[in-house]
Symmetry: C2
Subunit: 258 residues, 2 copies
Amino acid sequence: MPDRPKAEPRPASPPGAKGALLAPEELEAALRAIGAERYHSLHPFHRLLHTGKLDKGQVQAWALNRYYYQASIPAKDASLLARLPTTDLRREWRRRIEDHDGDGTKPGGVERWLALTDGLGLDRDYVVSLAGLLPGTRFAVDAYVHFVREKSVLEAVASSLTEMFSPNIIQERVAGMLRGYDFVSAETLAYFTPRLTQAPQDVDFALGYVKEHADTREKQELCLAALRFKCDLLWAQLDALHFAYVAPGLPPPGAFRP
Amino acid sequence: MPDRPKAEPRPASPPGAKGALLAPEELEAALRAIGAERYHSLHPFHRLLHTGKLDKGQVQAWALNRYYYQASIPAKDASLLARLPTTDLRREWRRRIEDHDGDGTKPGGVERWLALTDGLGLDRDYVVSLAGLLPGTRFAVDAYVHFVREKSVLEAVASSLTEMFSPNIIQERVAGMLRGYDFVSAETLAYFTPRLTQAPQDVDFALGYVKEHADTREKQELCLAALRFKCDLLWAQLDALHFAYVAPGLPPPGAFRP
């Protein structure tokens, strides 16, 4: 009889990894190396997006699909919040939810993303309905929510560490899109400005937490696997977009057609 | 503030759907219409696979990725089994698990799928390790397992009804692959033979169950949505394969490279 499939996206301890505990700075270097290899800044879709090579319909498809990711982040964070054991941890994670959901006076990230889809000429009700979403986007985003719900708190926190790599891509994206597309304005892209300060604040906390709590090599490997998993799901969202709207350009039945 | 995203893959009641209860034969016709529009037999990757247009590495990639689907089906069925209320229902669903896991003497579907990957020259340990799996495959398959775990029993049963459409595709696949590929033999494809009788047996039961228990229009719409969701996740698996191995042909970091 065959073995059962493993639950982990990647073997938790790849060959040669069963070594001693990494020093905190070695762990951080290993986390950063994953970004250098796998962060979605390297995906061809982003290269096209950031260099003005897409048409308006393709940019709309990106914003429409990415909305589901944005809108699911507070749900992901809330399911972690519900499992955090201390006031300090919950306060930190509640701040993240507020960043995304707003406080009723200043708009949060989800609302700012809808300003972006508005600015691209998409109907807001259509975006929010998710009717035109690519199934590949849905499955990748839901995989993230399920991961955070089901894995350890440590792995859930580690999976947030793609924010280590986001300030660079945001600066490249905003500059590239303003230069490349006459249908995009600084106002349309206002989503990204607060993220440039929020993301490093998130990372300071989460990276410190991981360095402190990953106190065995096995836990360190689980953190590395969690970050790989997160990179994979960001990458898979761009695969789905690229397949449907760039090459070969085959949106599945029911999906948004520009 | 924007609305929260909806939990359903598609609006449960599309415009015009809020009508009277469908007669059982109308419900069956509506289910079959979903297959005619969305079943993955229509995907360009399957057209290439079935007409001998892929190379051996591409066929390997298909078999390797499809293994994760095969290997996850018993887990999906077991999570439904755990929620079924009667002996009769559980006996029916236990039979499905036996079809896939075998009984210790005759091999089940998972083992037969590994005979297929063996026949294609893939290392069995590598296949079972899932190390080369496309993240898009993982997310789509896991979405199915989560759906069956979280939705109603009725929706879970309805999501199995893609088997209504599978005998046709299996006959087309086996004939087409034997004709198109000199590296494929009837022995390699022996996985599929029992499915030609198992699938109709499964469908008889599941379709009867859905026709009987979807006793309001709202439940009927949930069943139709469940089948659309299932078609979407089969389709998305082929999108991921096509993107990575056919066009543009960009396997993500860490995935199988033929």
